[in-house]
């Protein structure tokens, strides 16, 4: 199971994601540097968190114009699972692969804390092992994590079942407490919280099983594809 971990200048959760994919879930990840073509035969792609290009101009916007994003768009069309976490989510939004924008948190501060998500869509490659409304204790760490869409788009997202995760309470002022969304086909998922920080019991003071299901869902999906 070959998973590409895309690395931009300033990515800083790439090594954490790599560790979880390989050492915890026994997949075969490989780092993909932003100015090289995406390798062939990838089963999935992850865009990890960090501060690509130091968040200059706007979080994710410069990375969204990297050569590798053209390749990511191509394989997204083929239905290959793509997950963007935190800055990865911001990049997916800026590149147009996902709807909406990510704005400054309503506290105007960087926020690092544990939150609770509920699963709103269990049909994606990253949520197929969840029950609907299942809870996930998981940390966030961002300054621009407030997901925003206008009311019309919000209705559209609801109608097309594109809301994947919601916070179970108001965390940063995001539209409808949205924490993660997917594209219409459901194969491209973006989320602000960090599943790679919650999938091991040693570093998760609550319960690591729910976050593990995000990775196990991917395993199930890839297993079914192959």
């Amino acid at each position: 199971m070959n998973v590409g971990v895309v690395v931009f200048p300033g990515s800083n959760c790439d090594r954490d994601m790599f560790h979880v994919l390989s050492d915890v879930f026994h997949m075969t990840p490989q780092y993909c540097w932003h100015d090289k073509p995406l390798p062939e035969n990838l089963d999935a792609v992850v865009l990890p968190g960090g501060f690509s290009y130091g968040d200059r101009l706007r979080a994710g916007v410069i990375a969204a114009h990297s050569p590798i994003i053209q390749d990511v768009k191509k394989i997204a069309e083929k239905g290959i699972p793509i997950l963007g976490v935190c800055n990865g989510f911001q990049i997916l939004v800026e590149s147009g692969l996902l709807p909406g924008v990510l704005l400054k948190n309503d506290s105007l501060n960087f926020m690092c804390e544990w939150t609770n998500l509920t699963v709103e869509n269990n049909k994606t490659p990253f949520t197929n092992k969840f029950e609907l409304n299942e809870k996930i204790p998981i940390p966030i760490a961002n300054g621009d994590g407030r997901y925003f869409v206008d009311d019309e788009t919000l209705k559209e997202l609801e109608r097309k079942n594109q809301i994947v995760f919601k916070y179970d309470q108001v965390v940063n002022g995001s539209s409808n407490q949205i924490a993660g969304v997917c594209n219409e086909d459901g194969n491209v998922v973006g989320m602000m919280p960090h599943p790679e920080r919650a999938a091991e019991s040693e570093i998760n003071p609550h319960d690591n099983k729910p976050s593990s299901l995000i990775f196990e869902s991917l395993l199930k999906k890839i297993g079914a594809n192959n």
Binding site: P9, G10, N12, G54, C112, I203
Partner: protein, 721 residues
């Protein structure tokens, strides 16, 4: 930015001629207090620096500890006080950047940060509030962007820091022993400057930091760029893996002048360089400016011509500029050229080794009667005082601060901020526990015992996670050393730390001295900040939730030691009284007992008693777990004392241990075996924090109310009014 007349004469004598203007700039930077430690160096030698785990290599800016299985941990502490007092955001951010590069210089990856922040009274002083808010943001923005978790620290407010800011940052690194850079160089090796362009920021920064703060010299403050620093880290580590680096040093205080002269001096070589080859931010920079600019995010690398192309490839990959600025010679001289002409040519030994001073010291007059005990009016109910303490800026929860720091990135943080000490997991299955502590209130009253207290408190904190202290970082921060009374307090603190380090066999693996911390309003209180690193071979204490019915044991004696306590100073506005002292043998016994209790896995948590005394320590357990507790003061180990002394005295070597009732006998048996002073002092349950004397409540506070006050107070202070 100049040498004192005496120093100029000395320089002339040493080089046998008048120095050139560039030489003068270089020497003035390097002989500044900040770079040369000229006032303190003679005395620092008394600290024990060797130990079974300590690895000493030439030219390191950080301490190195062997943590087994082929791995090492590096650690260092720095401050950025003057710059932060002028421009708190940039000052604090570049303080983070500087100490990270010290870790990187050894060839290790930075894996954690801790910050100690001190400001004036934020309740009254709007300027202090502004400094605090922006310094926190500076630390957050820099560390978060790099993906290095800020896992702990401390925040304190005291009027002695009015119009000033203390920003201390400690950094921890981790790596394989075989990857440590063994600094070496041979004739003809190339000297490369990589990273950000040299600009006009931070000009004369080290001299600025070596005088009292009287004007806002903004051009002496450096400008932070964490994105470049992140690229440098990744590029350096890649070059390290490819074995392309012979020697390495970061550019900090004194800029190129210090980095070049200190590297040459440490490696016993000479360096010839050309300022025209330095990549600069502005085209018209004077050569002297280039030599002393303290622009951030720059590293000096020594490599050879065979490895240079590969090194440049790596820099290109990360789009970092690098310039070959010179080469290694064998004449032990720092030879600087411009347009092919020599503008400085001076022995590195002269530059890098300022004449050390032996400053006079004298016991300060204010200390004569300061420790006279004072009793405060006794009350029948201390609930209101208790609530006031929980809301006070020094005791209130610091969640507003650490909630802005990414403390999870790197996925090593096993115990998160908000507990006694944070714990990181290492790749060899062991765990590292780290804490920094300072206590200027106690250090002012008794510089020696206060400093020892900081050291012991940091030890207690790491012990509470199950870690054995293996190394110490000291950061000694004082006022003007030329004032004999201030210098005396420096020497006393240093001697105290040395005695404790020797007795407990905890080597000092790194440190820093910061002097001239004063404004026209006066000097700061003595502010040594001590970092302690502990190692856990097996498992850290996994803190469990305390429930109704669980029990509380207190280890260690409570003494009549209200001097420097928050109760004396915050509630009664009284500076003085008996400073807490550490009984070394009791301290050691208690530490060993707590470590063994943790090993049994029969306890739920261990917590040390410090700021605010027993009353605050018990309240913290209740507030974090949202459960009440009743503690009869008649049961507290130690001599019989008035209620306020038992509640609020900040005596050292005390621990609170919680556990399920069924383990009571086992635990008591174990503690008896250790022959420590202890007692089971309470049981959890109910919804209020209660302390009783003669069965009558002296404190009765709803946990819910206490928790809300404690959690929100600091944020409200910063955001409102």
């Amino acid at each position: 930015m100049s040498l004192e007349p005496r120093e100029l004469e000395e320089l002339k004598l040493k080089i046998g001629r008048d120095p050139t203007s560039t030489e003068l700039q270089i020497v003035a930077a390097e002989w500044s207090e900040h770079c040369s430690y000229k006032s303190s160096k003679k005395h620092l030698k008394i600290l024990p620096m060797d130990g079974p785990l300590v690895i000493n290599e030439k030219g390191y800016d950080s301490g190195v500890l062997d943590v087994g299985d082929g791995y090492v941990v590096t650690a260092h502490i720095e401050s950025h006080n003057h710059p932060s007092a002028v421009e708190p955001y940039g000052g604090a951010a570049t303080g983070v950047g500087g100490v990270i590069r010290d870790i990187l210089s050894a060839g290790t990856r930075p894996i954690a940060l801790l910050d100690g922040l001190r400001f004036g009274d934020i309740e009254k002083d709007q300027h202090a509030k502004w400094l605090f808010k922006n310094a926190v943001k500076g630390v957050a923005d820099y560390g978060n962007c790099l993906g290095i978790p800020t896992i702990g620290g401390e925040v304190e407010f005291d009027e002695c820091y009015a119009d000033y800011a203390m920003v201390d940052v400690a950094a921890i690194g981790f790596g394989k022993k075989e990857n440590l850079i063994k600094n070496h160089a041979k004739k003809g090796d190339l000297v490369v400057l990589m990273g950000g362009a040299t600009g006009r920021d931070g000009i004369g920064g080290s001299q600025f930091a070596s005088d009292s703060l009287e004007s806002e010299n903004r051009s002496a403050v450096q400008i932070p760029d964490p994105f470049i620093e992140k690229l440098i880290i990744e590029a350096i580590l890649e070059a390290r893996n490819e074995k392309l680096i012979h020697a390495m040093k970061d550019l900090g205080g004194g800029g190129l002048s210090c980095a070049v002269s200190e590297t040459a001096d440490a490696l016993d070589i000479g360096i010839e360089m050309d300022v025209d080859n330095v990549h600069t931010r502005e085209p018209d920079m004077h050569s002297d400016e280039i030599m002393v600019s303290e622009s951030q995010e720059r590293m000096l690398i020594i490599t050879d011509s065979a490895k240079l192309v590969k090194f440049q490839d790596i820099c290109n990959k990360f789009r970092i500029e690098c310039s070959v600025i010179g080469h290694v010679t064998l004449d032990n001289k720092m030879h600087v050229k411009k347009d092919g002409k020599t503008i400085a040519n001076i022995s590195t030994d002269v530059v890098a080794n300022a004449t050390l001073l032996d400053l006079p010291s004298k016991k300060p007059k204010y200390l004569e009667n300061i420790e006279d005990k004072k009793s405060f009016p006794s009350l029948s109910d201390y609930s209101e005082i208790m609530l006031k303490l929980l809301a006070s800026p020094n005791i209130a929860s610091k969640i507003w601060v650490y909630g802005q720091y990414d403390h999870e990135v790197g996925i090593r943080t096993v115990v998160k901020p908000g507990y006694d000490a944070s714990v990181l997991r290492l790749d060899n299955g062991k765990f590292l526990s780290i804490k920094i502590d300072g206590n200027p209130k106690q250090c002012y009253i008794n510089p020696r015992e206060g400093a020892i207290g900081c050291f012991e408190e940091a030890c207690r904190n790491v012990v509470c996670t199950g870690a054995k202290p293996i190394g110490m970082l000291d950061h000694l921060q004082f006022g003007n050393p030329k004032d004999p009374e201030i210098f005396w307090t420096f020497l006393e603190s240093l001697k105290g730390l040395t005695d404790f380090a020797k007795d407990f066999e905890i080597p000092c693996i790194g440190g820093k001295v910061s002097l001239y911390n004063e404004t026209p309003k006066g000097s700061i209180k003595p502010t040594p900040v001590i970092g302690v690193i502990g190692l856990i071979d097996k498992k850290p204490l996994r803190i469990q939730k305390i429930n109704s019915g669980d029990c509380l044991i207190m280890i260690g004696n409570t003494k009549d030691e209200l001097g420097g306590s928050e109760y004396s100073e915050y509630i009664h506005k009284f500076i003085g009284g008996k400073c807490p002292t550490v009984d070394f043998s009791e301290s050691k016994k208690n530490m060993n007992a707590v470590l063994e209790l943790i090993e049994t896995e029969l306890i739920k948590s261990a917590h040390d008693c410090s700021k605010g005394g027993l009353a605050v320590a018990v309240s913290e357990l209740c507030m974090v777990n949202l459960v009440g507790c009743t503690v009869p003061l008649d049961d507290i180990p130690g001599e019989k004392l008035d209620a306020d002394k038992i509640l609020f005295s900040e005596s050292h070597s005390r621990y609170l241990v919680t556990f399920e009732k069924k383990n009571l006998q086992n635990l008591e048996g174990l503690l008896k075996k250790h022959n420590v002073s202890f007692k089971t002092i309470g049981e959890f349950g109910g919804e209020s924090i209660q302390f009783t004397a003669n069965s009558k409540p002296v404190i009765d506070l709803s946990v819910d109310k206490a928790q809300k006050t404690w959690l929100n107070s600091l944020k409200e202070m910063v955001m409102h009014a």
